[in-house]
Assembly symmetry: C2
Homo-oligomer: 329 residues x 2
């Protein structure tokens, strides 16, 4: 069974030491899912195996290498972070009726929403079980529960406010800070504090992770306007159809009020209208403006990064940050 | 705001000291939900307020009084147990499409499945946050994460096996042990170990709680065959329509094979057919047999209970156990 979970995303091939650690992280995840129903275990393993980038656990590992602490604890924290992240994805797919995730059928489309609901809950349980049993560190458990609460509050606010055509960029930033950047920040902080890092280092990686997370989410949202269903593994402008508005659309609505009118139709947007909307957003220059916004965060991230102690860990962080964020430059 | 959450189920009026503690438990829950989205916070508070019996937190409190430890910690454990239980109810209602819960609209019917999914997740987060911050006891966190994993594994198995007309009483017992009795057991154990209870006491309350939980669930399942929608706050034989088979039906299928045939229609059972099925189950004597099964557990529970140290806590446990389980005698 063990060899089945070794497929790490190709981006880590350039970083063999990180790749090896991430492999161990996947083994920990595999062990954590063992008590589960066999069919669901397989579905979850398939999802972990389907080639997520494992950015968040990689952040835990790499940032934890600056001031090394207990290596096993670090890997269990990394595994928990990835399971927590995946739990939110499984539940997001239920809510969004997503047929696909990572170019494979989503758990909800394969097994139904009932199994997917429990599978997500199961991952939450596995997350906290792994933290409680394998880190034996109440501070880590506390930070993780607080973070999960923040993520969920953010998601709830997003849902309560969806289809809001008067959403501002400030609303959007608050939303993605809670939805995405917060988990990058937690990954960095748990990595840093596993060893005996000075406060200044913890603050630097916190600021670095926040800005990487913001840039990463904006670039991800921009992708919806640049790609076809096949590229992304999900339907064109699915978020917009679900009432979730992101930077390109918000900027475009400010620039071109007629886009607001098109959205007044809400849930009834057809595929043709979605394509028309995407073209209007691009034509308005909003995608370029959103890309500039992402660049601002990227530059801040790289600036904080430059202040970290020199060494292999820093070089790795610079390389993956540039690879992740290069679309913004 | 504080006075709004003080409506404790009338069954506790006879036990003013427990009633007071449960009021404090509700205040803790109210505080835990504060950071949440306002509309969802209200929906969740309404659900806590709607008069659940709060049996599980009451078990924590009463059993914790035999060998008293930190009183605040005990109440926070009790609050966490009730939030954990409620989280599973919120997600169950999504999965079962339940329009009602505790005689009020369910969160999923009022706000939609998306909000309900996050609201349940939020309660899981609040559960572990409360345990991590207010009990500061890793053993408690560990036991709770393990229990949640067991509950969810049980629910997954139930879902994977649903509409199984060859389900045995042994399968059913295993299912309700994981789904219901396990949380009663955890409540008893966390209550007992909050103070300095001897191992013999912990074992006794564990056995007591297991048997109470089993009897309670069987009696609850029997109610489906004795009540109208109005009494129960949910449609006639809803569980059966969802493919969840309980003791009366399993016994009836063993006694009368023609009932198996009726069920071959599966998901397409009409309301009339449900009423017909219910009448057939009752006529077969299966409800009486299921009641006998519940009585066996009740008797064991009362036997373990009789071995506990004398005092007000024991008297209270005896009184509520008899009140809860009297339908079985």
């Amino acid at each position: 069974m063990k060899q089945s979970l070794t497929q790490i995303h190709e981006m880590w091939e350039r970083f063999p030491s990180v790749q090896k650690e991430l492999q161990d992280v996947l083994f920990i995840i595999q062990d954590s899912l063992k008590a589960n129903d066999k069919e669901v275990e397989k579905a979850l393993l398939d999802m972990f195996r389907a080639g997520g980038k494992m950015l968040r656990p990689a952040f835990v590992i790499i940032i934890g290498q600056f001031y090394p602490g207990n290596a096993s604890k670090l890997k269990h924290i990394a595994a928990s972070i990835e399971m927590l992240h995946t739990a939110t994805l499984v539940h997001d797919d239920i809510i969004d009726d997503s047929p696909e995730r990572r170019h494979a059928p989503s758990i909800q489309s394969k097994f139904g929403k009932d199994i997917a609901a429990y599978a997500g809950d199961y991952l939450f349980a596995a997350t906290f079980k792994t933290l409680a049993f394998h880190t034996d560190d109440m501070t880590v458990v506390r930070q993780s529960t607080k973070l999960l609460e923040n993520i969920l509050t953010g998601e709830l606010t997003q849902r309560t406010n969806h289809y809001d055509r008067h959403m501002t960029l400030a609303d959007y930033k608050e939303q993605i800070a809670g939805k995405t950047a917060a988990l990058f920040v937690l990954s960095a902080q748990l990595g840093a504090t596993n060893g005996d890092a000075p406060e200044e280092f913890v603050n630097l990686v916190t600021d670095f992770a926040y800005n990487v997370g913001m840039a990463f989410q904006i670039l991800d949202d921009i992708l919806d306007y640049q790609s076809t269903t096949k590229d992304l593994g999900k339907p064109t402008l699915q978020d917009v159809r679900e009432g979730v508005y992101s930077a390109p659309l918000i900027i475009a609505m400010q620039n071109k009020p007629e886009i607001q009118k098109l959205l007044a139709k809400k849930e009834s947007i057809t595929n043709e209208e979605a394509i028309q909307l995407r073209d209007m957003v691009i034509a308005s220059g909003a995608v370029d403006e959103a890309t500039d916004l992402a660049s601002e965060y990227t530059e801040k991230a790289l600036d904080y990064l430059s202040q970290l102690p020199e060494g292999e860990s820093k070089d790795t962080l610079v390389a993956i940050s540039e690879a992740l964020l290069e679309r913004a430059n």
